[in-house]
Chain length 686, copies 2
């Protein structure tokens, strides 16, 4: 069904219910498309999570790399638990509210707001981290970009912002091609690597002949505590691989029926693929002798002769190094892997641009964000959100010089805050359900779900504690501060809406009718808009009707009075003298005057306006009318009636707004609001 | 009389005419105050014009300085002619339109628009040149600022902008103190110098022992042509002293009665003082052995031992050098001169901030600028003008590194374009008057005036040609380009207003009344604003009245319908179904639908609104109402009725707007719109 323009709506009013139901099902996603649509964020972390594990372990030198596959298993275990938990959520909350809804419904408003703050911060960090990693891959593929990662990243964000402001047509293909290509590239590379391993021909990566100097804090033999802390840091960095797995729980409404079952299946698929990819990459990299340190500490890497590699050495990302070695005899293979990895990272950042306005609209519906964010139509509100997201991400990218390793320190705490609250909410959900449920089979299923969520919570709680301990000083405090800020703002907004709602609550006195209507038509010149306003005012048959003119210049006034009398309109003309050449104050004062004389009556102020269409024409007109309307709204007992007269150029604005209404907004696809036919229809019509 | 707030206006309506006449006379300026108010711009050029003469002559070495006093006389002659001409203008056009009015009335719209473009460009250059010169004086007084003139200048412009945006209370004292201090300082210094000269004790300036290396183009003995060209360049730079003399002709309405005579006397006084100061400075500087070159070519200055002075040498402005030498035994004297000179330059820049909006309002009245600029009340329009002026001036100051010498090349061409058109207009004025005037005494006076203006025109025409020849490539082309741009924009705006006016001209068909009024009240919730809108709509007794609700969510809809029926308001509720959750389009479409069914009727759309007062609250409300109103204005046959409900916080906005209305706007004093009592009253009331 196409997006409906002005002309089509009459039909829609008549056939409303029919179209409503017809709408469902048509725009929904089959699993094979839903997977790439929701998976790019989760899968893309394979492009940087293994790197972070190796960087952390490298602090204690190459010998610590023996722990790498155990950490991979630990992360995989946590991910499996989280995936299993979200499969329960998807069944219990098919409405797409995700963690926010689960926390709000089961744990109350404070928990919900906390989750929302965490998610808002996470969207910013998703953009910052994904784009920083993408910039590093761009540096690997195009050497001239090396060492300009922050600039490259900022440019990428600006391009993404522009695309999302403009409205990109999101289709299944848009997501499917790069996501499946990425899966194929990484799994293909690893498979080929494992085949070589089995055949004993596995080559070393380029960094295999280097040695790692341990960080000064980890020199010599480690105490048990120091080793544990190191492994905890490596593990919590590796947990970056879990970011994005919750996306599907927000997108259930976009799935084909049976929605929940399809979403749960897709989630399982996503988890299996992500775990496979991550473990394969880590194991293979270790086998191929990878040496990998924090790019800002490259002097801890030494050549075989003992000299530091220095800043001239380009330390390629882990996947890039593996691909380079595995495809040593086939450089297009290397470039293909690097390019699709960069693409999926950009796509992951783009999902944040989609998710941010969607979350904004949910928060707006609940009164935690400006209500304008809640309506699809307000392009300005969407735009503000997108620009805000882009600016914050650019600030982070520039401040952290696009160093993924440092940004990761900020990233994971928000994700795990919402994981925890969501799991806790799910446990409460099942417990509550169990108090009323009597059917034994259902009860058994619910109890099983509760156990799964409890296991999930125990895993994510441990991770959150580990993350807080290992990352608080390294950057997580920034995230917590930002969350607190968002939390406070949302509470303030909600409080305001609640206050207003109380103040506006209707009581019986509100039905009383005004005793009389005193209408005044503002006259500036005698032209078509004025005459139309007089005619409309007359048609409304007020108790008193007069025209009002603010007299500034004596000559103009005389001319106008004469012209008024000559026209014989049957409406008396009242002059307001304004020695200071002001227009607004005398009118506002006169309206107040009338109202004071008759407090039970109402003053109807008719303002003739003409409307133009070009943007620069707007600056040339209506400024006084606008100011006047703004002021009159604050005057009790007054209603303001705009009587528009459409100039020929106004048609341009109508056309423009119709084009605007046909535009796709970020996140539409994920909410099930875009279909393929709309785009085709739009093109035919143009 | 105080500026009138909302509460006072009722009295003003009743006593309108009385207050109107009372207003006149009270805010007007006596000559001794008018002189400083209008003179700062003209007098301040003494602070840089002599310097420019010496810089140009120095191209041919010190020997060319023998021409300096002859050039001073030539500039003085031109100034005398221009002053004499403007005394005629002041008598013939006491309304204060100045050059723009003279050119428009006598030479037509194109000439008037040309003058306006020239003036707009000139305001920008007045700020840039005055502030650049002031920054140089600041560098002389505070050595640490030396070589940071561009930054100092930009900061000064920002401060001026902020003061003008905020609204400074301009009083006579504000102008009188620095202007009279400047006159006293310069004339006092020169007088003291001449006394020392008579007594044979005149000291040399600090640069007297230096030698000047001629520019490579002027080495050896000069051809007559080269000498003439050099003198022409020096002369046209010296003509910078003439900028600002036209200010009084724009300010006649601010003078006490007899306005024209007082203005003419003030003009004469201004001219005499400016000529005296300029000639004195040039003669004295020559006598004291000044050596002065373009600050960007300081390597052309040599120490007695033949080494260049280099960048370490601080070449003080001419007045500063004279003061330093004359007051060699009294350094406070030197500082006093430098400080008041800096002050008067800043004051001159401030007059541009005053004049720019005044010119804007005159242009707006004639349809050459957005009409909003014409009304006193629109603070936003004023602000835009001030910011525009400041930004352009900063761009120039930074681009030309605050080098007065280079900015002067851009400056004078605009001034002389308007001088010429104004004089030509005055000749045409007298010629036209003479065709009807019969009284011999008056005819003689007119003929004398015409001769004066003709002499003025012949002088200014020669100067314009000289300026164009000597300065076109040096920068005047930028000015002409900018003028052409402003000219084109103003013509476009005027054309638009003319088109609209044609399209809006009323004809007889416009009196026809709509046959019926179909009113719809938009309902979003049932609260006080909605009930008030329903009551107001009922009171207007339309032919059809219905409430309209856009149904998005089935549960919400059911709840609302039930609540509506329970309230028993006697108004039917119509549901518009909106499967895509849009609010605006269904309503616009429904209104169009009703109108189509009855093309002779009118649709009255009642929109309940509640108004809040805090700026951030505005973001949280009314966005839908705003968008809806914006769209409905483009829908033919619809009138839009805002029914406001004032929340408690809205009182804050009313208070704020009343405070804003009491603010002084730049240029008020020069237009005779500020008096001293207003400020006192304002303070008492607070």
């Amino acid at each position: 069904m196409p997006l409906v323009g002005v002309g089509d709506v009459s039909k829609r009013i008549l056939l409303g219910r029919k179209l409503r139901s017809a709408q469902l099902g048509e725009t929904l996603l089959p699993k094979k498309i839903a997977l790439p649509v929701f998976a790019s964020d989760a899968l893309s972390s394979v492009a940087y999570a293994p790197d972070e594990v190796f960087i952390m372990l490298s602090l204690a030198g190459f010998s610590a790399y023996v722990w790498s596959w155990k950490i991979a298993i630990a992360v995989a275990l946590v991910m499996a638990a989280v995936i299993a938990s979200y499969r329960q959520t998807v069944h219990a909350y098919p409405s797409g509210g995700g963690d926010y809804e689960v926390a709000t419904v089961n744990l109350g408003r404070t928990a919900g707001t906390t989750v929302a703050s965490a998610l808002l911060v996470d969207y910013v960090l998703t953009v910052a981290v994904s784009i920083s990693a993408a910039a590093q891959y761009a540096g690997a593929a195009i050497p001239v970009l090396h060492n300009h990662e922050a600039t490259v990243g900022a440019v990428m964000v600006v391009v993404l912002m522009a695309m999302n402001l403009r409205g990109i047509r999101e289709s299944g293909t848009f997501f499917a091609v790069p996501t499946y290509a990425f899966m194929a590239a990484v799994i293909g590379t690893c498979l080929y690597g494992f085949l070589q391993l089995a055949g004993g021909t596995l080559p070393d990566v380029e960094s295999a002949n280097l040695t790692i100097v341990p960080d000064e804090n980890y020199e010599g033999s480690l105490t048990t505590f120091a080793l544990l802390f190191l492994l905890a840091r490596a593990f919590s960095s590796g947990c970056a691989a879990l970011t994005g797995v919750e996306a599907i729980s927000n997108g259930v409404p976009a799935f084909r029926r049976p929605k929940s079952r399809n979403a749960a299946t897709t989630l399982l698929l996503l988890g299996s693929i992500a775990i496979t990819m991550m473990v394969s990459v880590i194991v293979l990299a270790k086998q191929m002798g990878l040496k990998y340190v924090d790019p800002s500490e490259q002097d801890r890497l030494l050549y075989p002769d003992g000299t530091p590699v220095g800043d001239g050495y380009e330390q390629n990302a882990v996947i890039a190094q593996i691909a380079k070695a595995v495809f040593s005899d086939f450089s297009p293979g290397f470039y293909a892997v690097v390019i699709v990895t960069g693409l999926i990272l950009v796509l992951a950042a783009n999902t944040a641009f989609n998710g941010f306005p969607v979350l904004g609209s949910i928060l707006a519906k609940d009164g935690f964000a400006p209500r304008a964010l809640g309506s699809r139509g307000d392009r300005l509100a969407y735009s503000n959100g997108i620009v805000f997201l882009a600016v914050m991400a650019i600030v982070l990218i520039v401040a952290f010089n696009a160093e993924t390793t440092r940004l990761i320190q900020l990233y994971i705490v928000g994700v795990f805050v919402s994981f925890n609250l969501s799991q806790a909410g799910m446990i409460r959900h099942w417990t509550r359900k169990l108090t009323t449920e009597r059917d034994p089979a259902t009860r058994r299923r619910m109890q099983r779900s509760r156990v799964i969520n409890a296991i999930g919570l125990s895993f994510t709680a441990v991770v959150l504690v580990v993350v807080l301990i290992t990352k608080f000083l390294a950057g997580a405090w920034i995230t917590l501060l930002a969350m607190a800020f968002f939390f406070a703002v949302m509470r303030r907004i909600k409080g305001h809406y609640d206050d207003v709602s109380d103040e506006l609550a209707a009581d019986e006195g509100d039905k009383v009718l005004p005793t009389r209507v005193h209408a005044i038509v503002l006259v500036g010149k005698i032209h078509k808009p004025t005459l139309r306003a007089v005619a409309f005012a007359k048609a409304s048959r007020p108790n008193v009707l007069e025209a009002v003119y603010v007299a500034v210049d004596p000559d103009d006034t005389t001319a106008l009075v004469e012209a008024w009398e000559r026209r014989n309109l049957g409406v008396p003309l009242k002059l307001l003298h304004s020695p200071y050449r002001e227009l607004v104050n005398p009118i506002v004062a006169y309206a107040s005057e009338i109202r004071r004389a008759n407090p039970r009556g109402v003053v109807a102020v008719y303002i003739p306006e003409y409307v133009v269409g070009r943007w620069w024409e707007q600056f040339l007109h209506n400024q006084t009318a606008l100011r006047l309307k703004g002021r009159l709204l604050f005057t009790p007992g007054v209603m303001v009636i705009s009587v528009p007269y459409q100039l020929r150029s106004s048609q341009l604005a109508v056309d423009r707004s119709q084009r605007g209404a046909q535009r796709v907004r970020p996140g539409d696809l994920r909410r099930g609001q875009v279909d393929e036919r709309k785009s085709r229809r739009g093109q035919v019509n143009r």
